[in-house]
Amino acid sequence: MFTGLMLNTWITATIVAVIAGMVGFFAVLRGQTFAAHAIPNGAFAGAAGASLLGINVLWGLAVFAIGGALGIGALGSERQGRKGRNDVVTALGLVLMLGLGALFISVSSEYAEETYALLFGEVFGISQGEVLPILLLGIVSVVAIGVAFRPLMLTSALPEVAEARGVSTRRADLYFLVVMALATSMTVPVVGALLMFSLMIGPAAAARSVTARPGVALALSVAIALATVWISIALSYRTNWPLGFFVGVAGAAFYLLGLGARSLGVSRTRLAA
């Protein structure tokens, strides 16, 4: 379980979990769950396009992920004051990218197995050469979030105060979406578009439901993401069932545990008061 190629799997999955835990925490905090779903899925379409053109899949992933992030950020927050417009733009952007993906896949006929791998991941059998770029990108994303930690927190929690202090919510939105796009463009070929989404939302939502303190919640989110990935790899290795199944179910289970813990905590404080 811990030899050869499996070692690469453990290392990569650990890096991915740290990125997903951090980025996902802000995605949940900023209410950008839908974008967290749309960007990895759009990136998947880019990969299909790149393989059709015969260029490196990473280029397609990066172009579609970052293009999608910029489009959603620019068109979406323009009318942020108005209810629900953000959602509409995200939905339409996602649908456009997936529509293109459908076209690319249908035109290149030999893509069916790779479709499954890109959607649901191919985490077993990662070569040494694939680990390094993911590690580099992981460091870049973590640094990018670390540098902008305060403005990101401020615009998430108190947008009005942020505006008053001269921090543009819109620019913070764009910045964050591009970081998310960078993170997903590297991780999608390894863990799959759908898995990346589950890994970003489940742990972060669980952490948020337990504690309201941002630093603790962020650390907890990363810890839960790590636990989710490690448990899932072990189970997937044993049962041979797809990793995505365990990650999705474990994420939801942690969230339910978090909700349960919170309602217990609430009743306890009520009793004490």
Binding site: G31, H37, G84, A91, L103, V107, A112, F246
Partner: protein
Amino acid sequence: MHYLFEPGLFASGPVRTALLVGAIVAVTSGVIGVFTVIRGQSFAGHALADVATTGGSGAFLVGLNQFWGFLAAGIAAAALMEGIGVQRRRGRDVATGVVLGAALGAAALFLYLGTLQTSTTGASFTVLFGSIFVISPDTVPALIASGVIALVVVALLTRVLLLSSLSSDLARAKGVPVRIVGMVYLAALAVSVSLAAVAIGAVLSTALLIGPSATALRVTKSPGWAMAASALTGVAATWIGIVLAYDSFYWPPHGHGWPVSFFVVTLVLIGYLLTYVKRPRRLAPRSPHEGAECSPA
């Protein structure tokens, strides 16, 4: 005319079925989509489609008709989302995301087990992107019936839904059971979305749900007109998309039709973007009250 409509287009059975099913789906999605956009539940609409594909792949595995799998999973997910769902938009999105994440995991498992059985990977493509030309005529009555049921439910609830969408506090004060209305509406949305997902794929169902209604709501503010315009736009986009997809068989690369979903998505988006072109005319204040609002107090 001859170049637009290939000879034999309307004589072909699958095409006629496709046009019929496409129209049903577009009308149902168009009408229900107006509420989805007003209520800001685009994510829920898309998530329900994705969750429905989980049911679809499960049904594929068991050997049932996919439509029943789509329907069961969609309605179960709607109940779950509204069950966990917090009233605030942000909390609701997170609940939607968690349900979606778990469902996608299950879809991965079902598709994996499916490939073990049949050793084909085509299932994931069909489930996600749909294939309107291979709908069997047997399922058409079931599709029509569920579309009509969803439309009737929404029609009965129209007034209550509009009120609770625009101001849930006001609705509650008037004695409207907001939670139950929300749940019934989500169930209708699930029916409509699974109808669309089985006919045209999960991707396209979101396009038809959100695109035409967002376009219509940018053009008119009246919900009634918006529903009519949205249904019409949806039907037009679907029909033109089907005709183009049929024609595209003769486009490069030869002997390989382009997917219907691509054409419909593109048409829907063009429609939405066209409403932006008209926008500058509306920059002038429409009434003295609106102008007064903009001036500094």
